[in-house]
Symmetry: C2
Subunit: 275 residues, 2 copies
């Protein structure tokens, strides 16, 4: 039921973010700054070949020379501050985006202007593919913390794919991965009770943080309770109550948006047996 990351572990593990999240009295609970991932040095030059997200991203399977060609079409200098839009529904589509660091949410706005969060995306994940068929973005993407993003002009990507079959193949794999993730979201919304959904959601985050070299048991939620509820098809109160319940049962420890999973097996068991 969880988002699958069938790719291997990241080659160059980065330090766990745990140290950054020690709770200090009076600490401002503003979301983390974009967490530097290995190559995010101040004088950063676009370079897929040295990017630690290599195995989660488009260059996987490419020969070094081909990665250089990819580098030439990627504009990786874009930064977005918390709250900034990466794109809005209706914007013309020119480029795909890969998150280099940070956290985005994707949401729809209904006729009454209510937000409906359909996804959360983190480093190495591809944004905007749903716009290919319509030539416009269909949803909104907003940074939940300061983010660095690689922009990949889509027509360049298609052209380059012609000369680099491995790039084409990896792009197809990434789109396919997105479809699997969405089908699992559908299964979650269609079959699971509130307890299972929230447990599955935490496990999904855990796995994705783990796959990026961060602690899978101790992380900071970039999204509000409202956004979680929205994403899981539940009310904000239900999310709050369940987090409290999980804490009472000793499965997690919650301090505002700081989450520590104390009993990973117990959390997995909740998905299977909501009791």
């Amino acid at each position: 039921m969880l988002k699958v990351w069938p790719l291997g572990q990241i080659r160059n593990r980065v330090p766990s973010m745990d140290g950054q999240r020690e709770k200090r009295k009076g600490e401002s609970l503003v979301p983390l700054q974009s967490i530097p991932i290995k190559v995010s040095l101040p004088h950063l030059k676009a370079s897929c070949s040295t990017c630690s997200l290599y195995e989660l991203c488009l260059p996987l399977g490419l020969k070094p020379d081909d990665v250089d060609f990819l580098d030439q079409i990627v504009n990786s200098r874009r930064k977005y501050r918390r709250g900034e839009h990466l794109y809005r529904a209706g914007d013309p589509f020119h480029a795909l985006f890969v998150i280099k660091s940070g956290f985005f949410k994707i949401f729809d706005l209904d006729a009454e202007g209510r937000e409906k969060t359909t996804g959360f995306y983190m480093a190495g994940e591809l944004l905007g593919i749903e716009a290919i068929s319509t030539n416009r973005f269909n949803y909104n993407a907003v940074a939940l913390e300061d983010c660095a993003v690689c922009e990949i002009p889509f027509c360049d990507l298609e052209k380059l794919s012609i000369t680099i079959p491995a790039l084409s193949h990896q792009f197809h794999r990434l789109m396919s991965r997105e479809i699997i993730a969405e089908q699992q979201h559908i299964l979650m919304l269609g079959t699971m009770k509130a307890i299972q959904r929230l447990a599955a959601f935490l496990l999904n985050l855990s796995q994705r943080f783990g796959a990026r070299g961060y602690s899978p048991t101790h992380f900071y939620l970039r999204m509000s309770r409202e956004e979680i509820g929205n994403y899981l098809g539940l009310s904000i109160e239900t999310i709050s109550r369940l987090l409290s319940k999980f804490q009472e049962e000793g499965i997690i420890s919650v301090h505002s948006r700081d989450i520590e999973i104390k009993n990973l097996a117990g959390l997995k068991d909740l998905v299977a047996n909501p009791a």
Copy 2:
């Protein structure tokens, strides 16, 4: 909130199926035989160039010569009888499938063996793309009526895409279209009440039948109440009750799996204002 078909209408409209669905006393309510669509003659030879699904499918945007190349890799002779599996979860992935005629459901089996329907697919729709990233099918596909299917070996498609950029582009559009459809399913499951979901489901079928030249207001449900409920995240009883309610209100007329939409605007209004 509905599945979008941003492509144009089918060029060669085919006769409405209404005539076939006149309710006669004692009529067997076995699902319709695969409905012949223009070129489905007995001595059918694989030919994308003469297929009426042209604009819904991979050949869209290709030059005639390129369509011929596509024809050469497509095996379009495959037939599936009602209840037959097109593929099963875990099967190795070699080819994508496009439905030529008929109706498939996609479902997952949970640990206890319960089915969970995640999608219904009809003519012109692409099946199996979620398997690209894992090299195995992740779900099961079963024919809900007798079906004809085009099989497209995936490595051939990737190879051909290199020489035909328009084919590559159209393939990307189809994958993107699938992602949009799934995001709309997510929105439906995450935000809508039972009434809205069923109304949206009927409207979605209506639109898809309409886009294929069939009557958008009078069609035959290929799936059971259980499969509908499963797909919409609702119980079979709720589906039954709501269909009865819609009929009482004069919005639709239901006879077993035969559905006539009497008030399309009313149905749309139910999605917006579940009342």
